[in-house]
């Protein structure tokens, strides 16, 4: 700026009765007001839904996806043949409009929706994409963690673009769960994967869902835009931003200040209580699809003795854990399934808190004082709940040693299967097969999650696959739950509960039990 200009400006400022220092102050104040972006005229900005995620995304490829942040973003982008109704967990049509199951339960014929197109101009969705998606998961070259989930598939035929026929090797009554819109069930585009390539697709996904992936700024946010051509109608918001906010307290303040609209993945009891008490936002909660369990390794002494495992079960004051530690934000669990499962039963052997009985059982088993490693991952709340558990065990004469391992080390130790105990929850869809196979099937012996080395329900697992119809399935799964809970390879510590908070601007939101959230039904009211 040249001298004349400066002089002129100074003169103007002088004339307006504001000196240089005041001008500076005004400038700074103006910067703050303008910078705060508030109050924004409601019509000026397109409706953008801002959602907090607790950690960054890393991979949105359905064949390799895991972790709730990735799954939550993918939920907006992809569809499955069928999906879980958000409210009831019933299996309802998605890309398939209907399906027929052959009498022997081995052939599934799906009629597909027509007129569905892939995002970003990748053409129409056809039955060939379904075939491609599932075969890709099954291909060992893909290295998918979910190949086991689809292992019952024998062949996939595509008689026409709007029809796909899947033949199974043997009846599998839970097959619809496997092709539900979650993880391996999400359908990808053959054309897009061919053009983009596996690696790039993971962070540039092409789906058929209500939102189109726009961009990802590492550590900051993921932006999705509305798919105006979505087969079920365009979403009610223009854009969804998933913002990475690690600290839950900061996220809660941001929510109350209106910096974000939905606080996803709320966990800390203190923050939940505070948000509920504040009354500024709506806090929703719902039973999750998983319990958190203490897994006991039945292959080592003295845990091989049923009476010792029962004694440990009786010794742990689970109600005190839920009321005291979790301040009532979790529920008591009778078994390893939560009531979110349609196959859930509470008709299982129960082992209420009874230290005297625990001592008697240990005495009966002829076990003196022994030491037991309690292995937990170094993550909230698992690293902390082992403390009251250890003190409960000490009260009945078991010298419990707490071993909190950093997540990577924990996964490695657990995978080897040599840990005497560990804390495990199988998070996933409301498909009873997933936790049962993962925790109790012989095929999940280490390496795998069956660190209990349990093999008591092999025949029942096979029977469950054969069972046709909801009632028959319910009966077999009821038997599995009763048998397992009687054998105590795991002790269900608590049933997890999901909390999501949103501002009063958010309308139409439905909380699911999948640990994800769908932005599709959400609209933003003008504040």
């Amino acid at each position: 700026m040249d001298g004349i200009n400066r002089k002129e400006r100074a003169g103007r400022i002088e004339r307006s009765g504001v000196n240089r220092r005041q001008f500076g102050t005004l400038l700074a104040a103006g910067a703050l007001v303008a910078g705060s972006g508030w109050p924004l005229p409601a019509s000026a900005a397109p409706p953008v839904l801002r959602v907090r995620i607790g950690s960054d995304i890393g991979n949105l490829d359905p064949a390799r996806i895991f972790q709730i942040e990735n799954q939550t973003v993918a939920t907006q982008i992809f569809n499955g043949l069928v999906k879980y109704d958000e409210a009831s967990n019933a299996i309802v049509p998605d890309l398939a409009t209907g399906w027929d199951i052959s009498g022997d339960g081995t052939v599934y014929s799906f009629a597909l929706r027509s007129g569905v197109t892939w995002h970003k101009g990748f053409g129409p969705f056809t039955s060939d994409d379904v075939k491609f998606s599932f075969e890709r998961v099954l291909d060992p070259q893909t290295g998918s963690s979910y190949s086991g989930q689809l292992a019952s598939i024998k062949s996939i035929e595509t008689p026409s673009p709007d029809k796909v026929v899947i033949t199974l090797k043997e009846p599998n009554s839970g097959f619809l769960h496997k092709v539900s819109a979650f993880n391996q069930g999400w359908i990808v585009s053959r054309k897009a994967l061919g053009e983009i390539g596996d690696k790039a697709f993971a962070l540039n996904p092409i789906g058929t869902g209500p939102f189109v992936f726009q961009n990802w700024a590492p550590g900051r946010e993921v932006k999705l835009s509305a798919n105006k051509d979505y087969f079920a109608g365009a979403p009610k918001v223009e854009e969804v931003q998933f913002r990475v906010i690690k600290d839950e307290t900061a996220a809660a303040i941001a929510l109350e200040n209106g910096e974000i609209d939905i606080l996803f993945g709320l966990q800390q009891p203190e923050v939940i209580q505070r948000l509920k008490g504040g009354g500024l936002v709506t806090v929703l909660d719902r039973d999750a699809n998983h319990t958190i369990n203490l897994v006991l390794n039945t292959s080592i002494k003295p845990l091989g003795d049923l009476r010792v495992r029962q004694a440990i079960y009786h010794a742990i004051n689970r109600k005190a854990l839920i009321d005291g530690f979790f301040k009532g934000t979790k529920s008591e669990a009778s078994g390893f399934l939560t009531p979110a499962f349609q196959e859930f039963t509470d008709k299982v052997p129960l082992f209420p808190y009874d230290p005297a009985k625990a001592r008697a059982l240990l005495k009966e088993a002829g076990v003196g004082s022994f030491s037991l490693d309690l292995v937990a991952p170094g993550a909230n709340p698992y690293d902390k709940i082992v403390v009251p558990i250890a003190s409960d065990l000490a009260a009945v004469g078991i010298d419990a040693k707490i071993k909190v391992l950093e997540r990577g080390a924990y996964l490695q130790a657990r995978n080897k299967g040599t840990v005497p105990t560990c804390i495990t929850g199988v998070v996933g869809a409301p498909d009873p097969d997933s936790p049962i196979l993962s925790l109790f099937a012989k095929s999940s012996f280490p390496p795998g999650l069956n660190t209990a080395h349990y093999e008591g329900v092999e025949d029942l697992i096979a029977a469950a696959r054969q069972a046709q119809g909801d009632d028959a399935r319910k009966e077999v799964y009821g038997k599995i739950q009763a048998k397992v809970m009687g054998d105590v390879p795991v002790i269900p510590l608590y049933a997890d509960h999901l909390f999501i908070a949103h501002t009063k601007k958010v309308s139409g939101f439905v909380q699911n039990s999948l640990f994800t959230m769908s932005a599709y039904p959400v609209s933003l009211l003008e504040a």
Binding site: G35, D56, N59, A202, A217, V244, I253, N257
Partner: protein, 312 residues
Amino acid sequence: MDRLLRQLSQLAITVFGIVTVTFFLVRMIPGDPAQYMLGDYATEEALATLRAQLGLDQPVYVQYGLYVLRAVTGDFGSSVVTGRPALEEILFSLPDSAILAFAGLAVAVVIGIPLGILTAERQGSWSDMLIMIVALFGISFPVFWLGLASVLLFSQELKWFPALGASSGGGFLTHLHHLVLPAGVLGISVAAYITRLTRSAMLEVLGQDCIRVARAMGVPERRVVWRLALKNALVPILAIVGVTFAWSLGSAILIEVVFSRPGIGSMILKAVSARDYQLVQAGVLVLAVAVVLVNSLLDLAYGLVDPRLSTR
């Protein structure tokens, strides 16, 4: 020229050493990147395939050799989690970290140096004592505590600043508004160091003969302190600023976590827990180069401040 070459070679050796130590340290942490990436449902075959793809089935020394060979050609590998080039991913988050570190340092210098001079000038007075006690608090309080406290006060109660340290879109002013709290907290925690060390540097200079002579000759006290003494104390003060720059990068990790700001610090933290070896390597490399470069620049600045040093 000679000096520049010597500095460059020193830089190369330092960075190489740091990267080598990091390489082996990270691999000593138990935990398997493949397991982390594939999750609980991973089959043994899938794990083995991924390990082979990542070259993790090789002995550590082979991995190291390959790493060095590739690094020389500028290839620092790809992130295990995202599959994108590690260096690219780190460089993407460099501006965020640099803005925070420099803004924090600016706050620290603006607060710390005048306060340090003031306390040296009034050594033993009540204002000296008060400032030193406050500085002691500044050093003693963990930066994450200051961060959380400032969020509670300025975001939750007063609603002056956003709780999130990074904005999503918006113009320069919006970004600035989001930066005030994190940079302020970082600056204040670093300022405490700069204040204390500036005070010592000034006291040392103020005790020198040349200052006594100047005072005896009747040079005004203000001129003695702010011109003569400060000029002489500037070299140690610059050295302090260099050290605090490295230190503020370390604190920036905590600031980034508390204020949910993206940056190299939080990225390395995430990479360590994911056993994302390449990303950790690239992150440490970039940080090391940044620290060494800033110190080299300060070395050059000494020459400007005190011409005697440039001829050494």
